[in-house]
């Protein structure tokens, strides 16, 4: 529980720092609204011409969008800022300050930054989910809710591991400052259910940059189309990627030469 306290401490520092800039909240709200407008506009023009998209009804796609915003918000508040600072630290050699602290460096690197106002995305996503589930005429039982929670958790862990792996590459490729952009670009494709994509693209989005587990799989859980195989795959991928990212991190650390040497 020492690590939980550490996490809460960094969280508090981040929140206190951002609370000073309350204008940023309104600006962020506007930006979230615009991204929402883009997503909803896309859905609107599609559903002007069809009743369902590859078997997904409008409310179900709304739920998918909700998950997309929730995970996207969590990425932008916690994962991305920390990973960006981590990559910057490698470039400037200031990772030393993190490595010399008496706690696990991977944990510290992952929780060091928290951009509070990006939480509007999470709020909007939750609202979208609520609206979508309301329209789906209450077909969400306790089992489905549990599966939704599980897939959301494993999806989140998969996303975190992929970000860590991408960021760890900067131990070698210091000049590729936008390597994190790869994820957000592929994540754009996760706004639509992965099942409509041709097999090769589906494979890419499931096994190479596994955004499918971040949005489509939890959405499948909450709309009642999740099967046991996918659930198992999601859990398995989460476990495998957590281990792989940890090993890769430890390996990459050996190549780090700090500014102090």
């Amino acid at each position: 529980m020492h690590y939980l306290r550490l996490f809460l401490t960094y969280l508090k520092i981040g929140v206190l720092a951002e609370l000073e800039y309350r204008a940023n909240f309104w600006i962020q709200l506007v930006q979230t609204a615009m991204e929402l407008a883009l997503a909803l506009g896309g859905l609107a023009v599609v559903f002007r011409h069809t009743g369902d998209l590859g078997g997904w009804r409008q409310e179900e796609l709304l739920a998918l969008l909700g998950v997309y915003f929730v995970i996207g918000g969590l990425i932008r508040t916690m994962v991305r800022p920390s990973m960006q600072k981590f990559m910057e630290d490698i470039r400037k050699g200031t990772l030393d300050f993190t490595l010399t602290k008496p706690a696990d460096a991977q944990l510290l690197v992952s929780i060091q930054r928290f951009e509070l106002w990006k939480i509007t995305d999470v709020g909007v996503g939750a609202a979208l989910l609520a609206i979508a589930l309301g329209r789906l005429s209450g077909s969400v039982g306790p089992l489905q809710a549990a599966m939704f929670g599980l897939t959301l958790l494993s999806g989140g862990l998969i996303v975190y591991s992929v970000w860590l792996i991408l960021a760890t590459f900067s131990f070698w490729f210091v000049k590729v400052e936008n390597i994190l952009v790869i994820f957000m670009t592929m994540y754009e494709a996760a706004r639509w259910p992965v099942t409509i994509y041709p097999p090769w693209l589906r494979w890419l989005l499931t096994f190479l940059i596994p955004v499918a587990f971040a949005t489509t799989v939890p959405a499948e859980a909450v709309t009642g189309r999740l099967n046991a195989a996918t659930l198992a795959l999601s859990g398995g991928m989460a476990l495998a990627l957590l281990v792989a990212s940890r090993l890769f991190w430890l390996y990459g650390l050996r190549f780090y030469s700090g500014a102090s040497a």
């Binding site: 023009v45 069809t50 590859g54 000049k175 936008n178 670009t185 592929m186 409509i196 693209l201």
Partner: protein, 273 residues
């Protein structure tokens, strides 16, 4: 005689800027490839979405068959590659770090170097963009049936589309002289652009009112117009009206960019003192 000399003078300058930009950008080629990925993913995703819809509706939607959607989106991918800019993200950085002061010392308008840098990026990344387009064409089997005059007119509309977009985007970049909130401003611009330029869906698929609005906004003329032209979906009259619209918006963009630039420079100089 003097005019010819001036043109040659500018060509020399552009060649210099172009070659330096090529050399600088080549060092960041991996980063450039990552940016390119975004340019490929967006049309690809919408292409899959719309071909899914078309397949469900019996093979066609809103006057587009599966192959015509493929032609539209692969065309849009290439045209967007030719006309897009990122200049509005750059100026905030340049002004904040004072890098812009060095640019101001040069006896030439900063827009020229920006154009050269833009073109250098596109020339470099064409090496990846073209094979990607060919690969997508092989997978999705696009259909395009341009008339012979459309084929001849297309390069003209492409160049005009580039300048339509560039001058307006450059004017937007000038906002950095007044505010640091450029992220929100740029995002607002892009959300509007993505819809009205026909990147979310071909403009024919939108309601009548939206299509009429798209006619008076500049965005259609930056992307959807050249794409529809090369697909053979326009009549000669529509094509000529489109070229006229492009020329009008280039005029507006030029005037706007100059006005905003001069106002911005005055403000910038005020801080320097």
């Amino acid at each position: 005689m003097i005019a010819l000399g001036r043109i040659r003078h500018f060509l020399e300058i552009y060649r210099g800027f172009f070659r330096t930009s090529l050399a600088v950008q080549f060092q960041y080629r991996v980063a450039m490839l990552i940016w390119l990925l975004g340019g490929i993913m967006e049309p690809l995703v919408y292409l899959v979405v719309w071909t899914t819809v078309a397949r469900q509706q019996g093979g066609a939607v809103g006057g587009f068959t599966l192959q015509e959607f493929a032609g539209y989106y692969i065309g849009a991918m290439l045209v967007n590659h030719a006309v897009f800019t990122w200049i509005m993200w750059e100026y905030d950085y340049r002004i904040r770090t004072g890098e812009f002061s060095a640019t101001l010392l040069r006896p030439i308008h900063p827009i020229h170097k920006d154009i050269a840098e833009n073109l250098a990026y596109k020339v470099l990344t064409l090496a990846v963009m073209l094979p990607a387009a060919l690969l997508l064409a092989w997978i999705f089997q696009p259909r395009w049936a341009p008339q012979s005059w459309a084929l001849a007119l297309f390069p003209v509309t492409l160049v005009l589309a580039f300048f339509t977009r560039f001058f307006l985007d450059w004017s937007l970049a000038m906002a950095a002289f007044w505010t640091t909130r450029i992220n929100a401003i740029n995002q607002a611009y892009f959300v509007v652009l993505i819809f009205f330029a026909g990147r979310v869906a071909p403009l024919d698929l939108f309601p009548e009112a939206v299509q009429r609005l798209a006619m008076v906004l500049p965005f259609r003329w930056m992307l959807a117009f050249p794409v529809e032209l090369i697909l053979g979906r326009l009549t000669l009259r529509e094509a000529l009206l489109g070229v006229a619209a492009q020329l009008i918006w280039i005029g507006v963009g030029l005037a706007l960019s100059q006005t905003v630039y001069r106002a911005g420079i005055r403000r910038y100089a005020a801080f320097g003192a």
